[in-house]
């Protein structure tokens, strides 16, 4: 297997860090590995589809036995399900949140595994740093919370947004305008951008530090003591690596939590 991150050259003699000429090289893998019925299976597409396989396998092997006394793996999967069901859906939305558990659960596991690729040896690329996934997930969240609002309140859902009864009449047009853009445009946008930006930043930091560390250390014969910089980059990368594991879990949680909060505000606008 050829280990190629992206094309580029590093002037390790004159520079102290290796930066790619084009940052897209760290994220874009558009060259198809296979083509199935005209559909290009790129590395990213493969990894995205693999999320479905990984999550399905995790759930299948974790929940198939239904043991009264669970194994460690079963307990782990059950705690994940329970975390989303009780800790997010029911805690945030209320008893009605049970209806939204399949969607919230899917979002959480999808984002979690997609993020986990960032620190998975041999992969080291979070597919959630590709805008397609945050946009898709945010669009689904938008559809769910708007439909929830319409189903609960009918047309008054939109009226409640543009003409909020809880603020003084004089302020309603202004607040209504802000709310309209905030709820219907900014919400999905921030959902998508927050996840995307966090994963892009994490991936950039890790790849730059690891690649620089590797390049400087492996060229010790040519650059001498300057190779010590590579060690520093590696140590820093280790710290960032641990930090990124926290960010990965946190971003999956935040995306799911905010999606639940948006549904809750659609169902209970008075809150």
């Amino acid at each position: 297997m050829e280990l190629i991150l992206a094309s580029g050259e590093c002037d390790y003699v004159n520079e102290v860090i290796c930066a790619p000429a084009n940052v897209n090289e760290l994220f874009e893998f558009r060259q198809p590995i296979w083509t199935i019925l005209g559909f290009p299976i790129t590395r990213t597409v493969f990894l995205i589809l693999a999320i479905a396989v990984i999550v399905s396998a995790l759930l299948f092997f974790g929940l198939r036995k239904k043991s009264v006394i669970p194994s460690k793996f079963q307990a782990l999967v059950e705690s994940l399900v329970s975390f989303v069901k009780d800790g997010i859906a029911i805690d945030i939305i209320g008893p009605e949140g049970v209806k939204y558990v399949p969607w919230l659960m899917s979002v959480f596991l999808f984002v979690l595994v997609g993020n986990m690729y960032e620190v998975t040896p041999g992969v080291n690329f979070p597919v959630t740093s590709r805008m397609a996934l945050p946009v898709m997930l945010a669009a689904i969240s938008w559809i769910v919370f708007v439909i929830a609002g319409i189903k609960r309140q009918g047309f008054r859902y939109f009226l409640g947004i543009v003409w909020p009864s809880s603020v003084p009449v004089a302020l309603r047009p202004l607040v209504g305008l802000i709310e309209f853009f905030s709820i219907l445009f900014i919400r999905p946008l921030t959902l998508a951008v927050r996840l995307f930006a966090n994963m892009v930043a994490g991936h950039l930091m890790l790849t730059l530090l690891l690649v620089s560390g590797w390049v400087f250390i492996s060229n010790v014969g040519e650059i001498g003591l300057k190779a010590g910089i590579g060690i520093a980059w590696f140590i820093m990368a280790l710290g960032i690596f641990v930090f990124e594991i926290v960010v990965i879990a946190l971003q999956a949680y935040i995306f799911t939590l905010l999606s639940a909060v948006y549904v809750q505000t659609s169902l209970y606008p008075e809150h």
Binding site: Y12, Q31, P40
Partner: protein, 191 residues
């Protein structure tokens, strides 16, 4: 020149730099969703949603219900065991109380029997003592009578001897004895 980025990770070939970015860093490309990734994402999400909805959550629910039933069963069994234990304890307590009563009755009966035996022994002892006493009295009386007779005979003999010495042998010995006995009897009657 050295290929610096030939390092970790991807199996893919290096990305051809797009005409739009022209090799410049960053760019709008990163912010635009790639259609094939969007489609793959929708497919993957749909699969996950189906698995979660149709398998994971029902399985999870079933597991929890099974666990709930097991706990309920265990609690019911524990409650039943507790009741049985309480019932057994009551039985044991009743048995102990019965045993105590029985023991008290046995002790009382034994005491009564003991008292009866004691009374019997005392009665018999008293009767025996009375009998011994009576026998002793009889023996004493008999001895007394025998001694009196002996004394009377000796006194008579002595008196005859004395009388013979005084009056000679004019009187027949048997007559003298009869006389002496009468005299002694009279003396006894005077006393």
């Amino acid at each position: 020149m050295y290929q610096a980025w030939n390092l970790i990770l991807a199996t893919a070939e290096p990305t051809p730099i797009s005409a739009e970015t022209g090799g410049e860093s960053g760019g709008i490309d990163l912010l635009l969703p790639a259609p094939e990734e969007l489609i793959a994402g929708i497919i993957a999400f749909a699969i996950i949603f189906l698995v979660v909805w149709k398998f994971a959550l029902p399985a999870f629910k079933k597991t929890l219900e099974g666990r709930q039933d097991a706990i309920k069963g265990e609690l019911a069994a524990a409650e039943q065991a507790k009741q049985e234990a309480a019932s057994l304890l009551d039985d044991y307590r009743a048995q102990v109380a019965g045993a105590k009563d029985e023991a008290a009755q046995i002790v009382a009966a034994a005491r009564e029997a003991g008292d009866a035996v004691k009374a019997d022994i005392v009665t018999r002892a008293e009767a025996e003592a009375q009998a011994i006493k009576a026998r002793a009295n009889e023996e004493v009386a008999a001895d007394r009578a025998r001694v009196a007779d002996e004394l009377k005979r000796q006194v008579a003999d002595l008196s005859i001897n004395v009388a013979e010495r005084v009056v000679g042998s004019s009187i027949d010995a048997d007559q003298q004895r009869v006389l002496v006995d009468r005299y002694i009897d009279e003396l006894g009657g005077v006393q």
